[in-house]
Symmetry: C2
Subunit: 225 residues, 2 copies
Amino acid sequence: MQIELKIAMNQHLFIKDPEGSELGRKILFHAVEMIQLNGFEDFTFKKLAKNIGTTEAGIYRYFENKHRLLTYLTAWYWSWLEYQIHIQTKNIKDPKSKLKIVIMILMMKSTSEAQSLHINEQKLHQIIITEGAKAYLTHHVSEDNKIKLFKPYKDLCASISNIILENNKNYTYPKSLASTIIENSHLQVFFNQNLPSLTDYSSKKNDKEIISFLEHLVFSCLKIS
Amino acid sequence: MQIELKIAMNQHLFIKDPEGSELGRKILFHAVEMIQLNGFEDFTFKKLAKNIGTTEAGIYRYFENKHRLLTYLTAWYWSWLEYQIHIQTKNIKDPKSKLKIVIMILMMKSTSEAQSLHINEQKLHQIIITEGAKAYLTHHVSEDNKIKLFKPYKDLCASISNIILENNKNYTYPKSLASTIIENSHLQVFFNQNLPSLTDYSSKKNDKEIISFLEHLVFSCLKIS
DNA sequence: CAATACGGATAGTATTACTATCACAGATAA
DNA sequence: TTATCTGTGATAGTAATACTATCCGTATTG
């Protein structure tokens, strides 16, 4: 059984809904391929158009500019993560197990059967590791925030925050700890792959130690052994 | 007494040493002003040249491109931080106090008397919060790493890592924890200023709670009460 | 049948990110 | 003293980027 997944996206993230047409879906698919392969700076709408077989103007009918497309992809990713957390923890009683599942999902070691057809989640995860922070590290973050572009991130953070509080209802900084483990789960992978002397992991391929580090960090903060 | 501070920079960070000439120092000074004011994306060599009263070609004699200039500024910042940690902890015996000083320095709440004449450390700190990660979050991070552009970051991380081990010599991930608190000290400030619902702080202006969060995190990991 | 949506094709502009060349003034070295 | 080197200014030019605009055909729908 293949369950298709459709995530509702904020209207301001696009001009025309890319999931609603063939060309739109091609844009998403090829954008993910290209950004993952050569990075966001090298990525241009002209190259994307050429890859798809359409024109630059064709892409601009869907997205205002490439930064908005990146914001779209990150928003999609946050929503997808929150959905994963929701379905994979809903039948779990033990709060500690829930938190471990959250970390596994953040590290992409656990995916439910539901898949998106035109967005490759593994490749998108790789994009988020390197480019995700660029979606909000801008001079226009406040305007973007006003039109709710980062709502999926906040919702994800709130979900994880609640699971943190289930583990220790007296913990003072549940949201800060949530944003810390979200960002740090990406950063530690990036460092392990590219600047390993900023970490202590013995293997570049295996993420077990990163997971162990993150679990230790979270459970230490929450005083759970 | 004014103590001037001169930081030795990797030769690959520039074409001509900007600290060695009047124009070079103007480039650094105005680059910091401009990037802090309007962000790195808006910053161009043409605008910088106009602000200084020189030409675009004049800037290119000092830096290959604007990304390399950003890398220069971040490298300078890491070196400066490590120096601050060195002098401000050298007479401290208690490892826990040392670690608290490290956190204060990362949060720019503690500066020694030595100052740089043409680089404003407070403004540079603001730049690092928003733009610092962009220095390494690139497709060419490995090549940049090969020519040692990130050595100051690694040295800083190693210094903090050693102080962590002084607190708990059995802790398994001292460098990972060091890179975590470095990056997170910036991120939590950014979130507090721009996306506060990702945090739990009550004041946008006061960093006390961020410091308290970071201290709790570190000392929990190290099992120190 | 008319209206509208979708997308292909072409053109054009301002800005960005450089590269190259020439000229000149002041310091230094032979 | 003359030659040279260094630092900077001035000007020009190019390829690519990041858009914007217009036109036009085709498919869908009401």
